[in-house]
Symmetry: C3
Subunit: 155 residues, 3 copies
């Protein structure tokens, strides 16, 4: 039920931002082949302001990176709510890729991306558990610390 | 109609290269699950020569990076034409990932990838608009500035 | 036939590890939209010990990177066997992305990822040939040299 997911978000103190329109010629959520592909999300706060600008392993610790990944996952849900109308339509998260803007000697990208995986599992239960890749990269749009994209199946 | 897309390409002065065979054990376009997955494309000119070897933020400006991304998108269409026979079979671009070979302090990977997104939208209209991730990476095959992959739905 | 694939693996001297449970809130193989998405795999030996910790172009040569990519591909098959029960259920490898932990001036990420593509084609024949992206990145989980993810179609 949508009610359950919304209640869970509320109990976690999470308010889904209402996403603004894309800033360029792309779309937040596109359906194809029975799946929904969600564009890579960066960490925004409830009001849409960019958070966590910097690199994990320099400006940010692993825990701060995890918090940034969690904000990206919140944006995934915000866009899915806007696209699907109701989060209860999420049949399951199929795939997540988390890109971590990290220093070249950083070896814990997977722990950072756990911030997204843990949040999705916490909110959606088994439907939130996904196949995943965690990648450390040299830089990200606007210099943010983390970007997370997803593929989901909807009903 | 194919004629419309071909006419649009002509009006833009774009000649689709005829792709050569892959250089290794992979395939440019593979169908699966009702989708077509297009291998990551690098910037080639009409004759298949590699262009834009270097990093955005060092050898190349944002605008040059955008031009490189556009060449990658042209290669996506070239391979789709070869695989599908007719570009009119593209029902829609579902997902694009653009990887930008950038300096670690570069923060505009999204603007670079717009070179691909804008081109696809220009040529295909709403069918060209896609979900997207833009990622800045440390290096790319042959040292090129941009690589773009795609998932499309065909009819 | 499964027998053929298993015989081929044996002839190559490859023993598929029995994967342990995931270390976090993700799943090795998730089905969606008629496809199976396999989480990014890192190089493990037969006993599950991490191999090839370091960067290609610094600690490791191209050939060593290829060997690391091959180990990642072996892990893809190990997880698919665990998920599908029988490797003969692989209808085809649709998409592979290989991420290479490389120095910023390294220009042969594609040759490294060939270690995975060649292995999959060797073992599965035409069913192993896939669309592909090869990307050089700044760092990977646990500092490994290569990570490979895949999308397959099963029957």
């Amino acid at each position: 039920m949508a009610g359950e997911i919304e209640a869970k978000l509320k109990s976690l103190g999470v308010v889904l931002p209402v996403p603004g329109p894309p800033a360029a010629n792309y779309i937040p959520v596109v359906a194809g082949g029975g799946l929904h592909f969600v564009s890579g999300q960066i960490p925004l706060d409830e009001k849409g302001a960019i958070q966590f600008v910097g690199k994990v392993g320099r400006e940010y610790s692993i825990d701060e990176g995890r918090a940034a990944a969690r904000l990206c996952a919140i944006m995934l849900l915000a866009h899915l709510k806007a696209a699907l109308g109701d989060l209860a339509r999420i049949a399951r998260f199929v795939k997540v890729v988390g890109f971590v803007n990290a220093m070249p000697d950083f070896t814990d990208a997977h722990l950072v991306v756990n911030g997204a995986s843990d949040f999705l599992t916490d909110v959606l239960g088994d439907k939130g558990r996904h196949a995943r890749s965690a990648i450390g990269v040299g830089t990200l749009p606007r210099g943010v610390a983390v970007e997370v994209e997803a593929v989901i199946e909807a009903k």
